[in-house]
Amino acid sequence: MREITYAQAITEALYEEMTRDEDVIVYGEDVGIYGGPFKATRGLQERFGNQRVMDTPISETTIVGSAVGAAMTGSRPVVEIMHDAFLGICMDEIANQAAKMHYMTGGQIKVPLVIRTPRLGGEQQAAAQHTARPEAWFLHVPGLKIAIPSTPSDAKGLLKTAVRDNNPVVFFEHVLLYNKKGEIPQGEYTISFGKANIIREGNDVTLLATSLMVHKALIAVQQLEKENISVELIDPRTLVPFDKATLINSVKKTGKLVIATEECKTGSVAAEICAFVVEEAFDYLDAPPKRVCGLDVPLPFSPPLESFSVPNEEDIVQAIQQVLR
């Protein structure tokens, strides 16, 4: 197996899809000459030219708005919004245009659009305005799909699927993962949306984690193993569609659920997961599901404040110990 970084996985996915289908175009701020602010589009403009890989003005609203128009007319745009914290700038274009176009037109128009967006999150002292972690907003918009890969292999396979999907997809990447390496299958492959990855099987408690938190969860799982606690670790990989069956089955087995996400706790994706699990598996639960999320604060800059505000492996360990008590 080859090992590549998460950033390379993104580049490879785009490279392969652009080679396969000339309708695929890539644009956004600094994705061309610069190769993307985090190098995830490196080399694409050289290879595919500036009619298919374009640097744009700082116009997030129109990056997404125009991508909706391009997607409606036979292109398959993959646009980049430099940080997920700026998605609010193009929120109407995502939620009111991209997400609703197919439905409103009675199925006439399709919008095969991918919005790639690197998350800064905590640990980088990027401060409040660069660190919104807003995937919950999009979960609440029917008509959008959401992918949130945690490994190079998932990043590549899911992005290829996203590009081929005929619906708008918000694709959350993580800046702290870009340099992480991982094994990648040989040759052509894709990963279906809505198929969770059971990273570790276990019996005592179900631990659901997304994106960067999967890696913190793995550390926690290893630590708990030493205490003879067997954790089933699940990465849903896509939030819409969500692989409810895999999660519910796991909860039915373990009777306990901890959800670890990097977002602020109130109004989170974790809240939704908790709610539907309770609705669908109440009688199997031995303890209330527990959310390990960020504090309900804008992310502060100073390292001690910041690290206090984002969830870490220790928080996961403690949460699991608590639900097992």
Binding site: T62, G65, N96, Q108
Partner: protein, 322 residues
């Protein structure tokens, strides 16, 4: 260059068709037969008609909340439009969209839009597809003067100008955005000044003169088709109805309305056609009866059509096609 007689008559027919459609649906709305909201374009028919007549079938348009005229002029089927307004299954959008969201992708209508100014980036994006695919098309982007103060105007036109896209931006200036007169929300109304910010042509025409609209759009659409980039056209006009049906209209005088009614684009063009002997009073009556009949048939179609089954609400959230 003088237009062919048939084309002239076609413009006249289209304007009247729009007028008849709007006046009829306004009544149906008052009667409670059409649910939701209705934004009529009565008085503005020359803009939609002249502009779309300058396009080809394969060209795209983006429209607005006040979109019936644009759609009819681009060739939409009034039966399917009417059925959509009634919320019927046979409507363009299977009843899912209503007045503000009608689309007919098969003839390049990329949709009315409920969000003011949202069509501008969408039209720009259609221009991106055209350019990459080297297609022989242009996009015509309709929006109101009120939309011109949204950020999307600036960003969308800037992008089209930079990338030299085949988009004609058409600002339909009917002086008001809901109750708000243009002069109260911007200091200059000089369209050339606004276009100058993007180094593209900006020109203003009498929007109640269907031939002026036609000629101007034609000129800039062909220019765009030749790869010479976008343009901004302002068509000065006036809406006779309220912003929406039911508008208390406490913000403008009846005198102002009466002044503009004198500039009715339809009777004005009729005079031209009569003078040029392209139309006779008799032919006029025939045309009108024919079109009234067409609209009546559309109503009948809409009324007799079934509502969608309620479970249909759950379909089309996602496109299942691969």
């Amino acid at each position: 260059m003088e237009l062919a007689k048939e084309k002239m008559l076609e413009l006249y027919r289209t304007m009247f068709k729009i007028r008849e459609f709007e006046e009829t649906v306004a009544v149906l709305f008052r009667q409670g037969k059409i649910p939701g909201w209705l934004h009529c374009c009565t008085g503005q028919e020359a803009v939609a008609t002249g502009a779309c007549a300058a396009l080809r079938k394969g060209d795209y348009i983006t429209s607005t909340h006040r979109g019936h005229g644009h759609l009819i002029a681009k060739g939409a089927d009034v039966k399917k439009m009417m059925a959509e307004l009634f919320g019927k299954k046979t409507g363009y959008n299977k009843g899912k969209g209503g007045s503000m969201h009608i689309a007919d992708f098969s003839i390049g209508i990329l949709g009315a839009n409920g969000v003011v100014g949202a069509g501008i980036p969408i039209a720009t994006g259609a221009g991106i597809s055209i350019k990459r695919k080297k297609e022989d098309r242009v996009v015509l982007c309709f929006f109101g003067e009120g939309a011109g103060n949204r950020g999307t105007f600036h960003e969308g036109i800037n992008l089209a100008s930079t990338w030299n896209l085949a988009v004609v931006y058409l600002m339909e200036n009917n002086l008001y955005a809901v109750s708000t007169h243009q002069s109260r929300v911007q200091k200059t109304t000089d369209i050339a000044a606004r276009a100058g910010a993007y180094d593209i042509p900006g020109i203003s025409v009498d929007g109640n003169d269907v031939l002026a609209v036609y000629n101007t759009v034609k000129r800039f659409a062909e220019r765009a088709r030749r790869g010479e980039g976008p343009a901004l056209i302002e068509c000065r006009t006036y809406r006779w109805h309220g912003h929406y049906e039911g508008d208390p209209l406490n913000y403008r005088s009846t005198e102002e309305l009466e002044e503009w009614k004198k500039k009715d684009p339809i009777s004005r063009f009729k005079k031209v056609l009569l003078m040029k002997n392209i139309l006779s009073e008799e032919r006029d009556r025939q045309i009108k009866d024919e079109l009234k009949n067409k609209i009546a048939m559309a109503i009948k179609f809409a009324e007799e059509s079934p509502y969608p089954e309620k479970e249909g609400a759950l379909q089309d959230v996602f496109c299942e096609l691969v």
